[in-house]
């Protein structure tokens, strides 16, 4: 255990002491003030999102409280968090367990595989706490205030928070350990890591859609009575797809009373079982899956003549090609970038296909909506499809230790940005096109609505890409040991997504108010949004072009 703790201490230092890991940048006094201003702006941007989140919590609480089912709000939050950890934890586990660069140092040390795996598990766990805290803690705290809960609730809150990711992460770890052992048999490891991770995601997602809750189709009288007389009717209905969410909710609400001890026993037993399995399986399979995973098979080539040299591509295309190849051939970058760009359209497709009954109202509403209103809905959807992949906001960070090449080649930083911009636009376009295809297949959408939606989405995406580059060039995370750190655990990507959501939320909220209060006709609102994005794109691009030379120069490696 001492070794696990020592390892954990080192890993936490390496993973979370980010100021020491950043590329060195030199700031003068005036620039430090600008950084503080930027932080204040980010806080201001986060505020409307936070307000909207609390508003939704309050509305749901007011809906559920009269029927005695307010506890379900907690289950919903816990369930969503746990399912997301199950799905996206795959990338973190693969990246930190198997593809992180410290493994070359750890394998030769006299440490047992299960000790390494446990310390890595806890490193990912700590990271998950940072990820889920902004989502789940406001829910717990605001619920406590709204429900005027007893003191015990507040005392249990920190423990509940700490317990949430334990089981889903342990399940994901077990699945990944088995998957990677199988992958290591193959020559095509990189490809199989991508395919395996996607299959695992489907394995987790599809049952969520296929499991038809029996309560939905026909509740018998007894079930209806139980549902309304028990405070946990809805808790059980929501949580039945992942029971640990029910156990945690009931433990949270009731503590040791009201039979919640059974839930606690179940929670602890399953956690211990999963941990023991992880230790046993880790001891047997971890190193077998790990050793050689970074090797690639090489077929000895005979001399190839003539060598396929390029005829001298333009510098912009060279940078574009470099970005494309580096991203598409690095499994974790491909999964987090290109594939996550397609995630929303595909997810949407599954939701609508499998849950047509539940979303029927949404489909008919979309189809009947005014042409311009539909185009605005679509624009927001397409921007989300194209904007959440983090490609632009991690563009410099992804270069990592290879960044020296960008600094020494005789290519102006503006030219480099052009190549990078084209690449980020290509990745985002995949998401937007995916979204458009899904929309065309699923809804009877007017083609003009689609085109009008695409127009705003493309201009908006260009603006957001420019903002992403500005964020990442300001302080790129160049010294990382796991690929996940360069993308999904990169604060630049987080701030970028935050800005996108905040702008979309503010525009959406203003549109709803303008439409409801009939402040302006719809075509004016559409034009306003279009002009807003055009201006945002122009300002963001000009700012990027004006500052990029300075920012590049300041990055020291």
């Amino acid at each position: 255990m001492k070794k696990v703790l020592t390892l954990l201490k080192v890993m936490l230092k390496v993973n979370f002491l980010f100021p020491a890991l950043r590329g060195r940048t030199i700031y003068k006094k005036k620039e430090r003030i600008n950084i503080i201003i930027l932080k204040v702006i980010l806080f201001v941007i986060a505020f409307p999102l936070f307000y909207a989140y609390l508003f939704i919590i309050r509305k749901l609480f007011e809906l559920l409280q009269p029927i005695g089912q307010a506890n379900a709000l907690l289950t919903l939050g816990i369930l969503i968090t746990q399912v997301l950890i199950l799905i996206f934890g795959i990338f973190s586990i693969v990246s930190i367990f198997y593809l992180s660069k410290d493994m070359e140092l750890l394998i030769p040390l006299p440490i047992k595989p299960h000790q390494v795996i446990l310390s890595k598990y806890f490193t990912v766990l700590v990271n998950e706490y940072f990820v889920i805290a902004p989502f789940i803690l406001p829910l717990f705290i605001y619920y406590g205030i709204l429900a005027n809960v007893e003191v015990g609730y507040w005392l249990r809150l920190p423990f509940v928070f700490l317990f949430i990711p334990i089981i889903p992460l342990a399940i994901t770890s077990l699945l990944v350990v088995v998957m990677m052992r199988l992958i290591n048999f193959s020559k095509h490891k990189d490809k199989l890591i991508i395919i395996g991770s996607l299959l695992m995601m489907l394995l987790i997602i599809i049952p969520q859609f296929l499991a038809k809750p029996s309560e939905n189709s026909g509740l018998n009288n007894e079930q209806v009575v139980n549902f309304f007389t028990s405070n946990d009717g809805l808790v059980k209905m929501i949580g039945n797809k992942f029971p640990p969410a029910i156990w945690i909710t009931r433990s949270f609400i009731y503590g040791f009373s009201n039979n919640a001890y059974i839930d606690q026993i179940l929670f602890y037993t399953i956690s211990v079982l999963l941990f023991v399995s992880l230790i046993l399986l880790g001891e047997k399979l971890f190193y077998k899956g790990l050793i050689g995973i970074n090797e690639i098979s090489v077929t000895p080539h005979k001399r190839i003549k003539p060598l396929p040299f390029s005829d001298g591509a333009h510098q912009v295309s060279s940078i574009f090609l470099r970005e494309l190849r580096m991203m598409n051939r690095t499994p974790m970058f491909l999964l987090n970038g290109v594939i996550s760009s397609l995630f929303i359209p595909v997810f949407m497709f599954f939701i609508i296909i499998f849950k047509t009954g539940e979303f029927g109202f949404f489909i008919s509403a979309m189809e009947k909506e005014n042409l311009l209103m539909t185009s605005l809905y679509l624009a927001a959807f397409f921007i989300l499809c194209g904007g959440l992949n983090g490609t632009s906001a991690s563009s410099f960070s992804r270069e990592g230790k290879y960044f020296w090449i960008s600094k020494v080649i005789p290519v102006s930083y503006i030219t480099q940005i052009k190549g990078k911009f084209l690449h980020a636009l290509a990745v985002s376009s995949l998401g937007i096109i995916g979204g458009a295809i899904v929309t065309l297949i699923l809804f009877k959408i007017n083609l003009i609505s689609l085109l009008l939606g695409l127009l705003i989405a493309i201009i908006g995406t260009i603006a957001f890409i420019a903002i992403g580059f500005s964020l990442d060039s300001r302080k790129p995370l160049l010294d990382w040991i796991s690929y996940q750190k360069a993308m999904k655990q990169n604060m630049n990507v987080f701030f970028h997504i935050l800005i996108e959501f905040a702008i979309l939320f503010c525009l959406g909220y203003s549109t709803v108010i303008a439409v409801n209060k009939k402040i302006a006709p719809l075509y004016i609102i559409y034009l306003f949004i279009l002009i807003f994005f055009i201006l945002l794109a122009i300002i963001a691009i000009l700012y990027l072009l004006k500052t990029v030379e300075k920012k590049y120069t300041k990055i020291e490696i």
């Binding site: 090489v298 390029s310 001298g312 090609l321 190849r325 020494v408």
Partner: protein
């Protein structure tokens, strides 16, 4: 030609002086060896010359151009070989060569001829279409070298270039260095290997604690030193003062 004037660089808000008021000139056609113990400031100096670090004070002139004022022109004159051969591991050797050829504007015919010649000499012909991820440390170093050769630079900057190379490739590299300087071009390299510096360099600079302790031809260094039997003795005498 490389001219460093009063060059200074410090870390940790000025607490650690990596390079302190360093001035030296490397003439065209000259092989200049830069020696110093670990942490003396060799790599920091080299990184400032190639533009990876910005000097706190002083200037760097490359063939008469300031590298801060004309960064692009200066970069197009330089080829840099770093100490750690970290290059895009997801590209193949050939894709890397093409990338370098494209960004330096080397015509396809020239890059084909040079790559075929040097990949043959370095024993990389059969590996050039393979992913760099599969390359050993030495192979990575060789592919960076080939990239540097096809860039056809005026100034070669090499940081510990012989570390990790097999004897045959090290010999070839020395030939490249000689050939480069015969054409009247400049070469600046750092090394720990005294024999190499002694045999290869026209002039040698010895740096310690960020300061240039001695600079000159082998004969000049011997003249400055009490113990002038070998460069190793001179080096030890100067750095242990």
């Amino acid at each position: 030609m490389i001219e460093l004037k009063n060059l200074s660089k410090s870390y940790n808000k000025g607490k650690v002086k990596a390079v302190n008021n360093l001035s030296l000139t490397v003439q065209p056609g000259e092989i200049f060896g830069f020696l110093g113990p670990n942490g003396a400031g060799k790599t920091t100096t080299i990184k400032m010359i190639v533009g990876l670090l910005k000097p706190d004070k002083g200037s760097i002139m490359l063939n008469g151009l300031c590298n801060q004022g004309h960064p692009l022109k200066c970069k197009s004159m330089i080829a840099y070989i770093p100490e750690d051969p970290e290059i895009y591991d997801r590209l193949t050797g050939l894709e890397y060569i093409n990338f370098i050829g494209d960004v330096y504007g080397t015509p396809a015919k020239v890059r084909t001829t040079l790559t075929e010649k040097w990949s043959e000499i370095f024993g990389l012909t059969n590996a050039i279409n393979q992913s760099i991820k599969s390359y050993s440390h030495g192979m990575r170093q060789k592919i960076i070298l080939i990239g540097a050769i096809i860039a056809r630079p005026e100034i070669f900057i090499l940081d510990e270039p012989l570390t990790g190379l097999d004897p045959k490739s090290a010999h070839s590299l020395k030939e490249i260095m000689h050939e480069h300087c015969k054409q009247g071009k400049t070469l600046f390299f750092s090394t720990h290997i005294m024999e190499v510096a002694e045999k290869l360099c026209d002039r040698i600079g010895i740096i310690n604690n960020g300061e240039l302790m001695a600079c000159g031809t082998m004969d000049e260094l011997k003249y400055m030193s009490k113990n002038s039997e070998s460069l190793e003795n001179i080096f030890l005498e100067i750095t242990e003062k």
